[in-house]
């Protein structure tokens, strides 16, 4: 192998402390070095031409450049090498500026170090192997999991860019929690009014395949090439025939057996139901657990009511497979269960607040339903227990959030704002009502947010008390809220008519289960981890899987929408060419020598290591070995150091190269 060494003076930046001609001269004697030269500015056009000419004249196979940090000009010199016909990975940079001339003063020792640095690079480049970029084909279709506002936004963005989308929602309708909200902060515009058009758009978009009442069963494959298996749960309604007239719903004799989850348990729904009037798709579902037909085979009122014969009691769950290139996970959140929890539960609950025991102690989403014009009280503020209008409501913030003793230490972020909104709505609707808010801090960081809270306090005269509530108990038909005003330093007792708890946002119970199916990591709460907290906030650590909305952390609507668009654009970037180009710095397993202990699999942060069976002539598996998916590997090399038999090598940093560097010290 013929190696060329090029020592850059970087004007005087290097040559001031490093004797560049001497470095070039000494390095010329290193075995393997065919040509060595120093030059004023190696990165300049003449400098690059010097390299190209030398490659041609001396028939060089590899080059070493002694210059600034590879973070500055590695790309430049690699391009020069490519132009000269050398593989870009046969270029090594000796960092003579940042790591040598700039940090040392003594010319002799700096020069000596420079020589050694170049020597190390020469020894490494001798062992370097030509590498080429890895190409992975891409299926240009996105799977969006979750049909809340984040999922809807992501699906629409991707579809509008011209790519197919499969949107999976586990509930009978898309819309998510946003469809339950009354009005939104800080503008107080009606949530449904802004959401419904988008839901309809999803349903009508030719590029979006909407699968409601469906769940992801498993996802195999890797970036650009996922295969998702989706379970379509039986609705017992033939979707192709149903016109959504709602006759079956009104005829269903089961009236008071099942609570409506859309109404957060504040109202009943029939056995055959449409979750809410604006549901998309507007097709009912039969709830087997309460339907009379499924109990004793009788009834069939709905069948009679349906003039299109759309009721199908025999319908079964069906499985379908979708090939997709990217996955956007937008599974959202649920609220912390505030009631007393059994001993040993992950979260301790707030038994002392009497949620579940006292009907008028409710959570934030329940208040949204009560305040919503389409809700069970048609927007009039009424107590769930007796339907009377409450005159005094206490709102308690941070129920669950920021309370490690109860299992959660994070801030749920949206509660300050929606509590202010709810207190305002109450004051707007009940003019003689009193609203109290117990808060720890008010976190109103957002456009117009602080102003919004000030409005609640100053214009709507909501009483804000800084402090925590220790317990709530019923006395003479009132709810005694015992708390402390930490500013005044006095205990506070408020006899309220109703209490609204702003409970924490937590991931769904099955969030870890879904994460395992998708192959993405999650934190101890079950929120999905982003790949990098600053620079890759919408990427999961699994290549090709992106995150949107509150499944990642508590988020409000604008943030969820922004994140969804970001995730969508990441998917679109991925689809911008037919195959995916990846840096070839990936690990490879020597299958002959792999002993199959799978320590590599345990340490791989990206799930790139797969199990491959090695079979004997009879087709019986006699050995399992590790296989690294080149599309997924990010090239950290942790597996190479963990592998006990050294059967994995990281291209570009293989062990032989590193040993050579060590030897050249």
């Amino acid at each position: 192998m013929k190696i060329g060494v090029f020592i850059c003076h970087c004007g005087e930046n290097i040559s001031r402390t490093v004797d560049c001609p001497r470095v070039a001269e000494t390095c010329e004697k290193i075995p393997g070095v065919e040509f060595s030269i120093d030059y004023k500015y190696m990165c300049s056009d003449p400098g690059q031409k010097l390299i190209k000419d030398a490659v041609e004249i001396h028939k060089l196979d590899a080059i070493v450049v002694g210059s600034c940090s590879p973070n500055m000009h590695e790309r430049t010199f690699r391009s020069a090498a490519v132009a000269a016909g050398i593989n870009p990975f046969l270029v090594e940079i000796a960092n003579l500026r940042e790591h040598c001339s700039w940090v040392h003063e003594d010319v002799e020792s700096a020069t000596q170090k420079a020589i050694e640095l170049v020597r190390m690079a020469v020894e490494k480049v001798k062992r370097d192997k030509p590498l080429s970029k890895i190409k992975v084909p891409v299926t240009k279709r996105v799977l969006v999991i979750g049909g809340g506002i984040a999922g809807i936004q992501a699906a629409l963005d991707v579809a509008n860019a011209g790519y197919d989308v499969v949107l999976v929602e586990k509930e009978p309708s898309i819309g998510g929690h946003m469809s339950q909200l009354s009005e939104t902060f800080p503008t107080l515009d009606c949530s449904q009014c802004i959401l419904t058009p988008r839901m309809v758009e999803v349903n009508q978009h030719p590029r979006i395949k909407l699968l409601t009442y469906s769940e992801v069963e498993k996802i195999e494959g890797f970036i650009g090439n996922f295969k998702a298996t989706i379970r379509k749960k039986a609705r017992h309604i033939n979707e192709d025939i149903c016109s959504g007239c709602g006759q079956c719903v009104s005829k269903c004799p089961i009236k008071k057996k099942a609570f409506s989850s859309f109404e957060e348990g504040l109202a009943y729904r029939p056995a055959v139901y449409i979750p809410f009037p604006q549901a998309v798709p507007n097709i009912p579902v039969i709830d087997e657990s309460v339907c009379t037909y499924y109990r004793n085979g009788k009834c069939g009122m709905c069948v009679k009511a349906c003039d299109r014969q759309a009721i199908d009691f025999d319908q079964k769950d069906t499985m379908m497979v979708a090939d997709v290139g990217a996955v956007i996970v937008a599974t959202g959140y649920k609220l912390y269960s505030i009631g007393k929890q059994p001993l040993g539960s992950k979260y301790k609950g707030y038994g002392e607040y009497g949620y579940g025991k006292y009907k008028d102690v409710i959570d934030g989403l329940q208040f949204e339903r009560i305040a919503s014009a389409s809700g069970p009280t048609s927007g009039e503020i009424k107590r769930p227990s007796d339907g009377k209008e409450p005159k005094k409501i206490v709102f308690i913030q941070c129920v669950g959030s920021r309370d490690p003793a109860k299992g959660i230490s994070y801030c749920s972020k949206i509660c300050c704002m929606y509590t202010a909104k709810q207190a305002m709505l109450f004051r707007h609707k009940v003019h003689d009502g009193e609203a109290y808010v117990f808060y720890m801090d008010i976190r109103a960081g957002g456009k117009m947010y602080e102003e919004f809270v000030r409005r609640a306090i100053e214009e709507d005269h909501v009483n804000y008390i800084r402090g925590r509530v220790s317990r709530i108990y019923e006395e003479n038909g009132k709810y005694i809220v015992k708390g402390e005003d930490t500013i005044a330093g006095v205990p506070v007792n408020i006899d309220a008519d109703m209490v609204v708890l702003a409970s924490a946002m937590i991931p769904h119970d099955n969030a870890p289960g879904l994460a395992q199916k998708v192959g993405i990591p999650y934190d101890k709460y079950g929120f999905y981890n982003e790949s990098h907290p600053k620079l890759k906030p919408v990427e999961s650590t699994t290549a090709g899987v992106f995150l949107a909305g509150a499944c990642n952390a508590p988020r409000d609507i604008p943030e969820s929408v922004a994140m969804a668009s970001a995730a969508a654009s990441k998917a679109i970037i991925l689809f911008s060419s037919d195959s995916l180009e990846r840096e070839p710095v990936v690990a490879r397993v020597n299958e002959d020598l792999c002993a199959g202990c799978f320590y590599c699999r345990k340490v791989c942060p990206f799930g790139a290591v797969e199990v491959r069976d090695i079979k004997d002539m009879n087709g019986v598996v006699y050995k399992e070995v590790a296989y690294i998916n080149q599309g997924v590997c990010q090239g950290c090399g942790t597996c190479t150091a963990t592998c006990l038999s050294k059967s994995i090598e990281l291209a570009g940093f293989n062990n032989e190269e590193i040993f050579a560097e060590i030897a050249a010290l």
């Binding site: 002993a595 199959g596 202990c597 320590y599 340490v603 009879n618 019986v620 963990t642 038999s645 040993f659």
Partner: protein, 294 residues
Amino acid sequence: MDELRRFARELLLKKEVAAVIGYEQVGEARTRPVVITDPDECRRLVLNEYCLNNLVVYLNRARIKALARSKEGIRKLAVVAKPCDIRSIVALIQENQIRRENLMILSMNCHGVVRDFGCEFNGDNLAAKCISCNTQSSTYADKSFGEVREIPKFTGKLEYDLSEIEQLPPSKRMEFFREQFDKCIKCYACRAVCPLCYCQRCITDKTIPRWIESSSHSRGNFAWNIVRALHLSGRCTGCGECERACPMDIPLSLLNRKMAMKSKELFGYESGKSTDNPTLVGSYDQKDSDELFM
């Protein structure tokens, strides 16, 4: 012993297992591993204080694995294992080398073994690992044989005391280990008998790059013995076979024991305790000590 022979014979007759790996007596104070496939040969099986070998090492040998493999799939292997050997089985299961369902573990209720063949079984000659043993029988096994008797009280003297060596100044420790390692002739008996040294090709046999110099000079010997201990850190189950096999009497288990202590001290980890535990290497805790790091 008769019960074991009968049971093993039944297993082979009923074709429940492809082979039985056990011990046979060869001479008065010595046994030898034996791989039995013929039911009638089961009369050779013995269980006694001279059953020193850790037979688990055989479970991962290509030849033995081949015995269990047929067109129909994988058949079970029966192995006679002391309760301490079963820890190696657990470790191998954790490392995906063997599967519990392919194994029939025949355990012996153990009351200690001798330190080496040819010694009389008494307190003086008790194997080091038996001195503080508290698992005389195993619940992980499919069946246990023999009765539980008390382990004799150790009355001998160990040649090297770990705590004494720990207390030497570093330079003396390096001197001590260099002297010990210099004896090494690189016969790799330590590797051959170790159930956890199952690599298809040991890194000391790899030439490009040369991980460990194969020469038996001080440097090569030092590297080999340190890397051996390193690769077994958090994995070694303390069967002590390496030290027994060493023809040059290098106190190999000093290193293994030290690393086992460290694994426990730093990470609360004991190798071969349960297949449910994540392995020490290959997992991490965000709370692992940061003490070493500037």
